[in-house]
């Protein structure tokens, strides 16, 4: 029997939607979560006997709703939840404040409200939309579980007490608020890239959801494309020992062609719309890499032009560093090295790794060794450390 697996699959796919619908219905996040978890517990017990219902999501939502109503009726006799119980009999039609009306989208904007700390935004999004447990989120962000639990409790209390609204922002506020939402999803993805691979899957799910729910926002499509194209290289990114394999040395036959096709199609649709933003441009850079059958065939001129555009749209030292890498390919390592000197990124291991690589190509070995050592002193990710360590040993030979 695969029923147990089926419940798990329904949970992954539908948890966020069910919580979002219940939050709208109940106006209370904790109650919504409890009701949905109750419903899944019932499903685990019942579905093996009755079979999976024709609409599992509908079944979960209806069951959760009935559970919540039962609970509120029971409790309304002994505390002051009369008002809430009364609301259930005459639920208001959902307010239509935003341009889009999906419950999950409302919930994402609530979770990623700028009045909440960034860590809390990430944790709430993973918890309420992704259905991750507090323990899973704590593990992914390397904090003790009680710390993460406290963060979630505090964030939910602020949503309730300060009345952070459960809605999609008005058209006028949408671009600003969307930036925050996309940043949270990208942060989740990057956290997964560094370690917990499950977080990348989760970020891709959220990215697909945003792109689907906001078809008029090219940056949502841009972020999804960027994540798909980066994720497509996962199978080639580590060698048998777990060491990081840099892009030029990766076995391109191991890249995931389906993810590349999906990402590139999104990049093309963004180009047609011609409203470029930072995520779309970064996705375009990744698309150029994906296009090249070999590292030597990479169109670095085009990548450099894209980084020029990115510097114009959203300049930052990290963008400047990436641009310098492209400059090295187009004009050689020497001019690229000069570009690194002005960057305020001394605490960032990638700066030192890039510098080391350029020095190595210029045969300035002693300086390259020092730069690799500086990068190693700052890098925390084991795969990256293994890669830097190997480079250092190669130089020493």
């Amino acid at each position: 029997m695969t029923d147990a697996v089926d419940v798990e699959a329904v949970f992954r796919a539908e948890y966020g939607r069910a919580v979002a619908v219940l939050v709208r219905f109940l106006g209370d996040i904790d109650l919504a979560e409890e009701a949905v978890q109750d419903a899944f517990t019932t499903a685990v017990r019942r579905w093996p006997e009755t079979g999976v219902p024709p609409s599992p999501a509908g079944w979960i939502i209806t069951t959760a709703r009935n559970r919540a109503i039962d609970r509120l009726r029971r409790e309304s006799s002994r505390d002051d939840r009369h008002a809430e119980a009364a609301r259930l009999h005459a639920p208001d039609p959902p307010a239509q404040e935003g341009p889009v009306h999906d419950d999950r989208l409302r919930l994402i904007f609530t979770c990623c409200h700028p009045a909440l700390a960034l860590q809390a935004q990430v944790a709430l999004t993973l918890r309420l939309l992704g259905g991750l447990t507090t323990a899973q989120i704590a593990r992914a962000f390397l904090v003790p579980e009680p710390t993460m639990a406290q963060r979630l409790v505090r964030a939910k209390a602020k949503i309730r007490d300060a009345r952070i609204p459960y809605r999609v922002p008005r058209d006028a506020d949408l671009p600003d608020r969307l930036k925050g939402v996309l940043a949270v999803v990208y942060l989740i993805f990057n956290q997964g890239y560094e370690g917990e691979a499950g977080l990348c899957t989760e970020a891709l799910r959220l990215g697909r959801l945003l792109a689907e729910l906001m078809p008029d926002e090219p940056e949502a499509a841009g972020l999804l494309a960027l994540m798909l194209l980066v994720e497509s290289r996962r199978p080639a990114r580590a060698d048998a020992d777990g060491a990081l394999v840099p892009l030029p040395e990766q076995d391109r036959t191991r890249w995931d062609r389906d993810l590349i096709a999906e990402g590139q199609a999104l990049v093309r649709s963004c180009l047609r719309r011609d409203r470029p933003g930072p995520y779309q441009i970064q996705a375009a850079v990744q698309a150029v890499h994906s296009d090249a059958p070999t590292a030597e065939a990479t169109d670095w001129n085009q990548i450099l032009r894209l980084y020029d555009q990115l510097m114009a749209v959203s300049p930052s030292p990290v963008v400047a560093l990436n641009r310098a890498v492209a400059v090295a390919e187009v004009e050689g390592p020497e001019p690229a090295l000069e570009l690194l000197d002005g960057l305020d990124l001394d605490g960032y291991h990638v700066l030192h790794a890039v510098r080391a690589d350029l020095l190595r190509r210029l045969s300035r070995t002693a300086e390259a060794v020092r730069a690799y050592e500086a990068a190693l002193a700052l890098a925390e990710n084991p795969a990256e450390r293994a890669h830097l360590d190997r480079r250092l040993r190669e130089l020493a030979q």
Binding site: A115, D161, A162
Partner: protein, 116 residues
């Protein structure tokens, strides 16, 4: 409706603005208050004298001890406050944004308990 307190965060020992600038700020604050009244969300607003004018009353053994000065020394103090009614935090934050631009000072927004 929910009540929110907009607190003006005043730095201790900050240089008071030049007379011209101060007049400009007072003018903007007045306009902000008028806007709150017109929108029907204004409950109360006012500026406070400095923390050196404060007196603290502390309960002690059934009696009350009177001491000079503020309850806590900090880098900032409450310079003024404004009480508004609004439907949710987003509305309150929008008023807070206007208050910050009018006063040129940070504004803390906090909901009152049980004023739905």
């Amino acid at each position: 409706m929910q009540h929110y307190l907009l607190s003006v965060v005043q730095p201790v020992g900050g240089q008071p603005p030049a007379p011209d600038e101060l007049a400009e700020i007072m003018h903007r604050v007045q306009a902000f208050n008028d806007e709150l009244r017109e929108a029907g969300v204004w409950v109360f607003s006012g500026g406070l004298h400095g923390p050196e004018t404060a007196t603290v009353l502390r309960p002690k053994d059934g009696d009350v001890l009177i001491t000079d000065g503020p309850y806590a020394e900090g880098k900032e103090y409450l310079g003024g406050l404004c009480l508004i009614r609004s439907a949710d935090l987003d509305e309150a934050l929008e008023w807070g944004r206007k208050a910050a631009l009018a006063t040129t000072l940070p504004i803390e927004v906090r909901p009152f308990m049980g004023t739905h």
